[in-house]
């Protein structure tokens, strides 16, 4: 015990000194962070900066779920991976990078695809979830699982030269299905792998996801719940708009809904969205 009403070690005090100096963050915010656990689903374009900043800031336990391997065509945006990891699992590469910048926190590797069959078990181990995936079925599945488990969800997306960010299922706020009760036609779901993406665009959104996760985990500031950030990189325009609250008709989160763990595990997200959970390789002829 330091005798100053906190349980930070001298090394922590030194490492996180710039956080401790902040009157509105301080020792309490840092202690909250160190006691928190965050799961990042996807170690790709969004997950790269989100994981690095969450590891650096001192989240106590940081989980990474991913089942892909690092490819050369990821390198233009997935800055957590180095060339030497090409061909090896992203979750290994990302975990190694996180450990190399902060050896004092716990990093947990989940080298598997998140599916309705394993999501409850994995996500229940964390206080909050960061959705850094790249497809519609995963987004519905992660949101539904967060509702079932009562966890806040920091959701980011980026395609082309645009990005979007919001916090779902936080403190009575809306879930993903409140906004999007019906899935879009599968032809409307652009992926980075098909449509391209300017690498730094998921960089900006992933950083903002880390920020929202830090605010929730430290209980400091006003999370982006009931609001959505819309980012247009080309024109350098950012809009933060007010979105609907929790829907009384929501089939998953409304008081009248009775979406159970069992129903979740049996729900066919690929059929619901008519989109596969994993992406197909790209062919490009120039």
């Amino acid at each position: 015990e330091s005798g100053f009403g906190h349980d930070l070690t001298p090394e922590m005090i030194y490492r996180y000194s710039r956080h401790l100096l902040l009157p509105s963050f301080g020792v309490q915010g840092q202690s909250n962070l160190l006691k928190s656990s965050v799961l990042v689903v996807g170690a790709g374009g969004l997950g790269s900066p989100a994981l690095l900043y969450l590891a650096a800031c001192g989240v106590g336990r940081l989980g990474i779920v991913d089942n892909d391997v690092v490819e050369l065509n990821n390198m233009h945006r997935q800055i957590i991976h180095t060339e030497e990891y090409i061909g090896r699992p992203k979750v290994k590469s990302a975990a190694a990078a996180c450990r190399s910048i902060n050896s004092t926190i716990k990093i947990v590797e989940h080298k598997e695809a998140l599916r309705a069959s394993n999501a409850l078990e994995i996500m229940s181990q964390y206080d909050l979830v960061v959705d850094a995936t790249d497809n519609a079925p995963s987004r519905y599945m992660i949101s539904d699982c967060c509702v079932v488990l009562g966890k806040p969800l920091v959701s980011g997306a980026a395609v082309g030269l645009e990005g979007q960010l919001t916090v779902y299922n936080y403190n009575g706020g809306p879930c993903y299905r409140c906004l999007f009760p019906t899935p879009p036609p599968s032809t409307a779901c652009q992926r980075c792998s098909d449509s391209g993406v300017l690498g730094v665009v998921p960089g900006v959104i992933g950083c903002l996801q880390a920020l929202e996760a830090i605010k929730i985990a430290s209980a400091v500031g006003e999370p982006l719940s009931g609001r959505m950030l819309l980012f247009d990189a080309l024109s350098a325009r950012i809009r933060i708009v007010k979105i609907r609250g929790r829907s009384l008709q929501c089939e998953v989160c409304s008081e009248n809904a009775s979406f159970s763990k069992e129903q979740f595990q049996e729900f066919d997200y690929e059929k619901f969205t008519q989109t596969p959970l994993s992406s197909s390789p790209l062919k490009l002829n120039l």
């Binding site: 996807g42 790709g44 374009g45 969004l46 997950g47 850094a132 995936t133 790249d134 497809n135 519609a136 987004r139 980011g156 997306a157 980026a158 395609v159 082309g160 645009e162 990005g163 979007q164 906004l179 999007f180 009760p181 019906t182 899935p183 879009p184 036609p185 032809t187 409307a188 779901c189 652009q190 992926r191 980075c192 449509s195 993406v197 998921p202 959505m228 819309l230 247009d232 024109s235 809009r239 933060i240 708009v241 007010k242 979105i243 609907r244």
Partner: protein
């Protein structure tokens, strides 16, 4: 009345890749007010150049499109019944899934 219409998240591809449209739209059939329902019809006729099914489904926008009137979700202002005023800004944006 003068309106600014913005398309994003890929919807701009349906209108010649132009994101921002400054337009003049009047109430239809002698009505006093212009509603979002009227505006959708007008947009479908005057701005959407291809694949209209990627913009509308039935008499409203297709699933996955957010509509914002003056930076506020149209669910909060009455959806299709939202009435518009001069200089309003209406955004149509498709939700993104990539990362």
């Amino acid at each position: 009345m003068q309106l600014t219409l913005e398309f994003g998240g890929g919807l701009e591809l349906l209108c010649d890749s132009v994101k921002i449209h400054k337009v003049s739209v009047e109430p239809q059939n002698g009505a006093e007010m212009l509603t979002m329902k009227d505006l959708l019809t007008w947009v479908r006729t005057n701005l959407i150049k291809e694949r209209p099914e990627m913009f509308m489904k039935g008499d409203t926008v297709r699933p996955g499109v957010l509509v914002l009137v003056n930076d506020c979700d149209w669910e909060l202002s009455g959806q299709l019944n939202t009435t518009l005023e001069d200089k309003d800004v209406v955004v149509f944006i498709s939700t993104l899934h990539g990362g």
